[in-house]
Symmetry: none
Subunit: 240 residues, 2 copies
DNA sequence: TACAACTTAGACCAGATAGTCCAGTACCGA
DNA sequence: TCGGTACTGGACTATCTGGTCTAAGTTGTA
């Protein structure tokens, strides 16, 4: 396979592996896809065709390309919002907004978000639970310019990711994530109704759009006994 | 380098430096370029080739020459072994084997590993550190049949994943992972040299080959202050 | 003069590109 | 229910591109 086709093929395959296009979903149109891949439509079609022969994709004339539903499908390393995760467990997520204001960015934030220091950001503090006591204390800092509508949006019992998509037409595509175990400090213990020193899962996230533009940094503190972070990880084959 | 090639090289380099051809952009075709530079195509190609070896240009067959974007590499959502992670930080991983024996699988293990209950498994307990005090208490249970050589392999200061590949020709492709925050119990506290109740990052992993065959389940307990779990997550585009 | 190093023009190829046309599909408003 | 419209995958064409090769021309040096 030639170089451009190869690149397009790999890029598509990776997106499928990572669940960017989940099972059963339809890919963007060939013309759109070719544009995103930086390749002509004919080349994009060659890559799609190869994925189809491998059973990774199915085409339906005049309808589109689809990711086949697979019983044994590899669950992708998928980014799931708190709201989605709670709903997936059949519970109803609750969210209380503690703070929602526009302020200048700190140096660290400006660095992570690739904006000028002191540029306007929106800070949103929320307390989140699933029908019972609070489970998560959530602090999000967004670039004001990239999501202005969120400065005044009502996020009570709503998903920030969904509102970001609905109100601001911003879609989070990738997040750089880390989690570590920590002990609850005074403020966190009070908010999450646990003893000081209780185990807390501390997570930090920088979320990007498809273009690689950072949109928000989030810091979540979960009750250790009420939350577990799950992911599927892939191991790159050395040399490949 | 001869004179004509030298001239062409300098001219092109200057154009790139001065932003005539910006990052990510495509240069005019070789024939056109050769005309503008007042040299033959072969000479122009020599100059282009030299710029390519210097990393200032990239060629793509049948497409053109491109000015590389300066990329801040996107680390994929990658499975990294403890050994690899420690090495990536420039430290030397140390591993002490506490236990290494073949025993029948429990019901839970048989279920996760898709083997018959009481089938033979290898259990390996290790204490791991990076040059200093122990950081991780690591328990791995492998299917004996799928990796028999590991029953007697010496894993002191070695990576299990690497030995798995080297001795058993088994390559871990994907892992189902979860982590949660926990408090250190007596045994863990003693091994990791932390107070009872100190925050611990508890991780659990089921590792699969490319064929989707489960090979091992691992349970790691990390000192909360010494380890952080990192991943890149992708968000499936709902419905679109 | 002879030789080597460099440059040139030209041709050919497989791969890639933009563009067109077509028939089938989905969707929306009347 | 119907019709219009925008969009889709499928197929095809003409054109361009880098990669490779050959043969001839030019220049400088021994």
């Amino acid at each position: 396979m030639a170089e451009a086709t190869e690149r397009a093929y790999r890029s598509l395959k990776q997106d499928i592996d990572h669940g960017v296009y989940g099972p059963g979903s339809r890919l963007p149109g060939e013309r759109d896809l070719a544009g995103r891949l930086g390749v002509s439509r004919v080349t994009a079609r060659r890559a799609l065709g190869r994925l189809a022969t491998e059973g990774r994709l199915e085409s339906s004339a005049q309808r589109g390309w689809f990711v086949p539903e697979q019983v044994l499908g590899e669950p992708p390393s998928t980014l799931q919002s708190f709201t989605e995760m709670v709903r997936a467990r059949g519970l109803r997520p609750t969210t209380t907004v503690l703070r929602q204001e526009v302020r200048p960015a700190t140096f660290d934030e400006a660095d992570e978000l690739r904006i000028a220091p002191a540029a306007a950001v929106i800070q949103i503090d929320r307390l989140r639970g699933m029908e019972g006591p609070p489970v998560c204390y959530d602090v999000v800092v967004l670039v004001h310019e990239r999501a202005p509508a969120l400065a005044r949006a009502d996020l009570t019992d709503r998903s920030l990711y969904e509102e970001l998509s609905r109100l601001c037409d911003v879609w989070i595509h990738r997040s750089a994530y880390w989690v570590q175990a920590d002990a609850a400090d005074d403020a966190t213990a009070r908010l999450l109704q646990v003893p000081v020193g209780a185990p807390i899962l501390l997570s930090h996230e920088v979320a990007y759009t498809e273009d690689g533009v950072p949109v928000l940094v989030g810091t979540n503190r979960y009750r250790g006994d009420a939350y577990r972070f799950e992911a599927d990880l892939f191991r790159p084959r050395a040399g490949l």
